[in-house]
């Protein structure tokens, strides 16, 4: 099953342990893993299910190509890494 890890920067806001998920795409994996984690989900996706603008996702070290649809394929061995973009101020 794909594993989902979250940036440690989330830890200041809430617990974000590593999760496992079912699914063949990033979208399916996130929907599965966060189905019972509404608060954590809301940190990563907005209420319309869109990836937050300043959050990004890497699959085994490479950034996803479909931020909008989250259709990038994942396998049972994929590590999905949810991290924040950097911003100033």
């Amino acid at each position: 099953m794909p594993r989902i890890r979250f940036t440690s920067n989330l830890a200041r806001h809430l617990a974000a342990p590593e999760l496992t998920a079912e699914g063949g795409t990033v979208r399916e994996a996130l929907d599965d893993a966060l189905a019972d984690e509404a608060l954590l989900r809301s940190y990563v996706l907005d209420e319309q299910g869109r990836l937050r603008r300043h959050v990004t996702i890497f699959l085994d070290g490479a950034m996803i190509t479909d931020r909008r649809g989250l259709s990038d394929a994942v396998t049972r061995d994929t590590e999905i890494y949810v991290l924040q973009a950097l911003s100033g101020g």
Binding site: H13, A38, S42, D46, E47, Q48, V55, Q84, S87
Partner: protein
């Protein structure tokens, strides 16, 4: 002990009046996080703090122990939609308690223009669809942000079903039935930024802030993008007050809680130059319903000064004698003389979004 909450770009601070004067209490809450709105509910003492995180969206926290500990509760959320540009919460701009007869009811004004209500102290929220579905909303537009936003929510203390909203830019909206239905108020507001033949269109107005006299809530003061206006009928109609010196542009306004003819403003040069006139920060105060204004600078910095006061960053206490004011430059002042003299409490806070007496 008198205390004031100060919501800033980098945390929620509190100042308290002790024997040695007003001091900043440490540590702040949510240090490093942008705090966009705050509320201490006078009905039950519950505190609320809205965050606008740069990466992780808008968050809402609640404290039942005066801020010693905080619990995250769900933030208002827009209904699911398949539309490509489906709305999502961008900022909680105002949190206001319902009436004394509505325990646990909280109103939230947001970007991109939705009014939300919670009836369970923030455990859940509903979009007020009666306003959201108004056809006029299609003509609202952003004022300072990409999308329109509700920044002022006035609940009539005599009848909590009577509501008035200030929207940038969507004008003034009124409800007589607790939000079940809405009518456009704000007749008489005038906007030079609109084409001349539309300057008085109430839908497109940019009231920067509304503030009502608690004892006479039909009296509403408005700092508008275009100047200072006053209503004597609960926001249905407004009269423009021209010629206010040193300027009529600004964001903040505080209405006296008892005297309907007294209000305070903080002027800037004009919309395209949002700094104090001639580099001198002043507070303007009327005590006669707008016939005259005093420009007050006692205790405020001499020139050059370029502080700007955001719309929620000027507040007056329940007596009408004590005011607090915070600036984008991180200065915080308190006046215990109804604005005549000001004391600098801190010159080193993050940019101040809002101040509120607790």
């Amino acid at each position: 002990m008198p205390s004031i909450d100060v919501a800033t770009r980098k945390g929620l601070f509190r100042i308290e009046k002790a024997d040695e004067g007003w001091t900043v209490v440490t540590p702040p809450a949510f240090l490093g996080e942008p705090v966009s709105a705050i509320l201490t509910d006078p009905r039950d003492g519950t505190r609320y703090a809205a965050l606008r995180l740069g990466h992780f969206g808008c968050r809402l926290h609640r404290s039942g122990d005066g801020g010693a500990s905080w619990q995250e509760v769900p933030a208002p959320a827009y209904p699911k939609s398949d539309a490509e540009d489906a709305p999502a919460l961008d900022m909680i701009w105002e949190l206001v308690p319902g009436g004394a007869d509505q325990p646990g009811l909280i109103w939230a004004g947001t970007l991109p223009g939705g009014l939300f209500v919670s009836r369970d102290r923030g455990d859940s929220w509903d979009l007020v669809t009666s306003l959201w579905e108004k056809p006029e909303r299609a003509r609202w537009f952003g004022g300072g942000y990409d999308h329109p936003g509700i920044h002022s929510i006035l609940v009539d203390p005599r009848d909590s079903r009577r509501l008035a909203l200030g929207i940038s830019c969507g004008g003034v909206w009124l409800s007589e039935d607790g939000g079940e239905s809405w009518t456009q108020g704000g007749q008489g507001l005038r906007a030079d930024f609109l084409p001349p033949d539309q300057a008085t269109d109430p839908v497109s107005q940019d009231p920067h802030r509304l503030s009502a006299c608690a004892a006479r809530p039909e009296r509403i003061w408005c700092q508008h993008h275009n100047g200072i206006f006053v209503s004597s009928d609960g926001g249905a109609t407004f009269v423009e007050i021209a010629g206010v010196k040193p300027a009529h542009f600004g964001f903040a306004v505080a209405a006296h809680p008892i005297d309907p003819d007294t209000a305070w403003f903080v002027p800037g040069v004009k919309d395209e130059c949002r700094v104090p006139v001639d580099g001198q920060l002043v507070v303007t105060r009327t005590r006669d319903g707008g016939a005259g204004f005093d420009a007050l600078s006692g205790g405020l910095p001499g020139t050059p000064c370029y502080d700007l006061i955001y719309r929620h960053a000027l507040a007056v206490d329940a007596s009408g004698d004590v005011l607090a004011m915070g600036s984008t430059t991180g200065n915080l002042w308190v006046s215990e003389s109804a604005g005549t003299e000001w004391e600098l409490v801190s010159a080193h806070l993050p940019p101040v979004h809002a101040v509120a007496f607790v």
